[in-house]
């Protein structure tokens, strides 16, 4: 059974045990507009909570993507580079990295789907 968490910076995270898949939400996707490039990290890189691990470029601007948890990248979704339309809340195709968490407790303060929906509604 997996658990989906959300950050106030519009990342989603699917958690199974100590493993997490991280992507960006559909809300973020819409805010960015037309995407033209995704800069992916190296597999195996160690990240601290809050680190910028990828950059997505729209026609207008570059936006950094941050990890909500610390750990080591164990997989990178290279297929996304050529399929930028999948970069959204798609748990199968839209994840950017898979991370082995070093401190699963870091995920506890994040929002669930209901809280995140309320949060995005408060932004518009």
């Amino acid at each position: 059974m997996s658990d989906i968490k959300y950050t106030s910076d519009h990342e989603w995270m699917k958690i199974e045990g100590n493993t997490a898949w991280i992507g960006i939400t559909t809300y973020a996707r819409h805010a960015l507009g037309d995407l033209v490039y995704l800069e992916l990290p190296e597999n195996g890189r160690s990240l601290k909570k809050g680190d910028n691990f990828a950059v997505v470029e729209s026609v207008k601007a570059a936006s950094e993507i941050y990890t909500p948890v610390s750990g080591k990248i164990v997989a990178v979704n290279d297929a996304l580079s050529d399929n930028l339309e999948d970069l959204k809340e798609d748990l199968d195709k839209g994840w950017i990295i898979k991370i082995e968490m070093s401190d699963a407790a870091e995920a506890q303060g994040l929002m669930d789907a209901t809280s995140y929906k309320k949060y995005t509604e408060s932004l518009s």
């Binding site: 910076d9 519009h10 990342e11 960006i24 973020a28 805010a31 960015l32 507009g33 037309d34 033209v36 490039y37 800069e39 950059v55 997505v56 470029e57 729209s58 026609v59 207008k60 601007a61 570059a62 936006s63 950094e64 993507i65 941050y66 580079s81 932004l123 518009s124």
Partner: protein, 375 residues
């Protein structure tokens, strides 16, 4: 992740078409103190391509519109710019710059000669107050400056523009050449723009702006286009954006704008500084950069030779929808590199391969300039 800001806390100025942008569900943001449409629901790629293929309309009412008139008007332009404005025919528009004492640029602008002693000019929104102060500080007794802040400005750009203006506004522009101007009732119509496409900028009194905008948008070949696509369209043309690609510290020769300068012209503000850049002596030159590897480089990215020697910095950059690759413009040392040279552009610590490219990146499709001067 870091998203672009949604809202501004401080009050912003608005154009006469502000309510229209909100009704069209535009994404709004601040530009030069104005709450402006950045993009409409079609999105920046769609708006860009629509302008290249059909016709896009842009609210550019934030820009400044001025008249300079009187017996001393032509001589004042001759003093303020490096261009031969006094040689312009009536109804002819010219791109130029206001130079400062150091040879840098106060602003770039379009100056149109309406008659012997009367000129219309369109200046950048972000430079309005500065330009007006600058012109006033040099204004002789025999010239008068009028600020038309009661007028809107709509740009109509794309290959179908002439047809759209005829079918929606019932104005025939078929005899109007590129960089030419004529008046039709309250409409001040110039055949020019900032996209490289055929098109017009139409100045109108603000109280009929919404009506004109509405008529244009009723046409099935017309879409509204925001400032984001305006930027990608001008970048493909290699047009400089004031405050980014040119500013108070760049001379027209460094900026590769030698073509705006009057032949053998001397004595204008900044001439003594600018003449030191003549004959290829400038130490930096504005050029295009095309990325040949994946990535996007933006303003501030450093440019290096393949052996790691720094050449300069990008002053603007982004994705070209027409070419489907990353492009930019910046300044390099022309004594160390030339057009055609391979370079490296550093983006977040990563070096991306690129090549120095002559501007424009995309061939302009503006209408031919008439050989005869207007009457």
């Amino acid at each position: 992740m870091s998203l672009p800001p949604e809202k501004q806390a401080h009050p912003m100025k608005t154009t006469p078409l502000h309510a229209q942008h909100l009704a069209l569900n535009a994404k709004m943001a601040e530009f030069a103190g104005y709450d402006m449409p950045i993009q409409y629901p079609l999105g920046v790629l769609g708006e860009h391509n629509w302008t290249r293929e059909k016709c896009g309309v842009f609210d550019v009412s934030h820009m400044g519109q001025i008249w300079l008139e009187g017996a001393g008007a032509a001589a004042l332009w001759e003093h303020l710019t490096p261009s031969a404005i006094s040689k312009l025919g009536h109804g002819v528009a010219k791109y130029s710059v206001l130079t400062n004492e150091e040879g840098g640029m106060v602003d770039d602008l379009i100056i149109t000669r309406l008659s012997e002693d009367k000129f219309f000019a369109v200046i950048n929104a972000g430079c309005k107050d500065k330009d007006i102060g600058w012109i006033k500080s040099h204004l002789p007794d025999d010239a008068k400056l009028t600020i038309h802040d009661d007028r809107a400005l709509i740009a109509i750009q794309g290959p179908l523009s002439e047809k759209i203006v005829r079918e929606t506004l019932n104005i025939d522009c078929s005899n109007l050449g590129y960089m030419r101007y004529f008046e039709h009732g309250p409409h001040w119509i110039s055949r020019l723009g900032y996209t490289g496409e055929d098109g017009f900028e139409i100045s109108i009194p603000q109280d009929i702006a919404a009506q004109i905008w509405g008529k244009l948008l009723q046409h099935s070949d017309v879409k509204p286009v925001g400032l984001a696509a305006r930027d990608s369209l001008r970048l493909e043309m290699g047009y400089p954006l004031y405050g980014h690609d040119i500013d108070a510290t760049t001379s027209p020769l460094e900026a590769d704008l030698g073509w705006i300068m009057g032949k053998d012209k001397t004595g204008y503000i900044g001439y003594d500084a600018i003449k030191n850049h003549m004959g290829g002596k400038a130490l930096r030159k504005r050029v295009g950069v095309r990325l040949t590897d994946k990535g996007i480089a933006r303003e501030g990215a450093e440019i290096f030779t393949l052996s790691g020697e720094k050449l300069g910095d990008l002053t603007s950059g982004g994705f070209s929808p027409t070419l489907s690759e990353a492009i930019g413009q910046g300044y390099i040392n022309p004594h160390k590199a030339n057009i055609g040279d391979d370079v490296l552009v550093r983006v977040r610590g990563r070096d991306i391969k690129g090549v120095l490219t002559a501007l424009p990146f995309v061939k302009p499709k503006t209408k031919a300039t008439p050989k005869q001067k207007s009457a």
